[in-house]
């Protein structure tokens, strides 16, 4: 019984990787079926078949998109910083001056909204007591915060940021369409959009 099992194992080994004692039946099948074996033939590749090149489209597109986003963000931050002007501190004469750490309620009787911008003191111990004589007060009834007028240079920078963002958006659309295998959008329409 044990001899029969070891013989079977040897035969299995021959069937598996041609090691061990050859199995007569397996050998017979090998010799018989070898006549059907693949006969090497040259591969005829027509000249019309074009192999698509292994272009790293997606990684490159993603890298370009990230780079453009960073440039856009950098320009935006630069633009935002240049826009930041001095903080206005104003209050109505009949209104208490806000002190750091204490919330100043707006009187309910006055229904007009008063825009009040209070500069928070970085060091609360620096001005322990507010001197009303030293604080600028608004004599008019309403405080009107005027938008700072942009200089030509700032306008140019703003325009540059907007163009960069539009370009980025167009590039991202292009990348998305390429990655999804969709046809390209009409270039003229795209230009119109961007303009």
């Amino acid at each position: 019984m044990a001899g029969g099992q070891s013989e079977k194992a040897m035969n299995d080994n021959y069937l598996w990787d041609r090691t061990g004692k050859p199995d007569a039946e397996v050998q017979e099948l090998e010799e018989l079926l070898v006549t059907l074996r693949y006969q090497p033939q040259p591969l005829r590749i027509p000249a019309t078949i074009k192999v698509r090149r292994n272009r790293m489209v997606l990684p490159l597109a993603m890298a370009a998109a990230i780079a453009l986003t960073m440039i856009g963000a950098g320009l935006w931050i630069h633009f935002a910083k240049s826009q930041a002007g001095p903080v206005i501190q104003a209050a109505r004469q009949d209104q208490p001056i806000a002190t750091p750490g204490i919330e100043t309620p707006v009187p309910a009787r006055d229904k007009q909204t008063v825009a009040t911008v209070v500069k928070q003191a970085t060091n609360p111990t620096r001005h322990p007591k507010t001197n009303p004589g030293l604080v600028a007060t608004n004599k008019h009834s309403n405080v009107q915060i005027r938008e700072a007028a942009l200089t030509p240079q700032e306008l140019a920078e703003k325009e540059q940021v907007l163009v960069a963002l539009r370009l980025l958006s167009a590039k991202l659309n292009l990348v998305q369409r390429k990655s999804q295998g969709l046809p390209q959008v009409n270039a003229i329409r795209n230009q119109h959009k961007m303009g």
């Binding site: 299995d12 069937l15 598996w16 990787d17 041609r18 039946e25 397996v26 099948l29 090998e30 018989l32 079926l33 070898v34 006549t35 059907l36 074996r37 693949y38 090497p40 033939q41 591969l43 005829r44 590749i45 027509p46 078949i49 192999v51 698509r52 090149r53 292994n54």
Partner: protein
């Protein structure tokens, strides 16, 4: 100086010196990358390596007369679609799958046509008994017939079948063992 050059040439000829990049890189990966980088002729080497596999996969499923043309078609298709192969090392399993699908398409397309018996259609002088055995193998379940054809017809060993088809060695071993058992039973029944 001349001796040093000669030694270097000998090393290159024997393959003893290789660049670190190519030491562990499977040949399929190198070839697939080369083809995708524009060296179209390197596809011929892939064809040489994998034509027996494709032939075996097809022979287990379609009439023998159709196999050679289908092998060519499958490699043409593979060349066109090579850029879609994500893992170059999986070229074998990938092309085997293309061959299986193509065999299914062949049977779908030939449903409406008159099926000609292979015995009557083949005019080539072929060992009659070999064809009979092949017919018996084709009656076995898919997994067994493909493995048996690759083993007996294409002469691959179990480990080679596993590495080329992407199956685990254990699966191939089981398929060989069970397929052989079923084939023995069929041969005994016919005899």
């Amino acid at each position: 100086m001349i001796e040093a050059e000669a030694t270097a040439e000998m090393l290159l000829m024997t393959g003893a010196f290789r660049s670190p990049q190519t030491i562990d890189e499977p040949i399929e990966q190198t070839l697939v990358r080369a083809v995708l980088d524009g060296e179209r002729d390197r596809f011929g080497r892939l064809y040489e390596l994998y034509a027996p596999l494709v032939h075996g996969v097809l022979l287990a499923r379609v009439p023998r007369d159709e196999v050679d043309d289908l092998v060519q078609d499958i490699f043409m298709h593979a060349l066109k679609k090579l850029h879609t192969l994500r893992k170059p090392t999986a070229f074998g399993p990938w092309i085997a799958m293309i061959a299986r699908n193509r065999a299914m398409d062949f049977h779908r397309a030939s449903r409406n046509t008159v099926e000609v018996d292979e015995h009557t259609a083949v005019a080539k002088p072929l060992n009659r008994t070999a064809r009979e055995v092949l017919d018996l193998i084709r009656q076995l379940p898919d997994a067994y017939r493909e493995t048996l054809v690759l083993r007996f017809v294409e002469g691959m060993t179990g480990p080679e079948i596993a590495s080329r088809t992407g199956l685990t060695p254990a699966s191939v071993r089981v398929n060989l063992h069970r397929g052989m058992k079923l084939l023995r039973a069929k041969i005994g029944a016919v005899a």
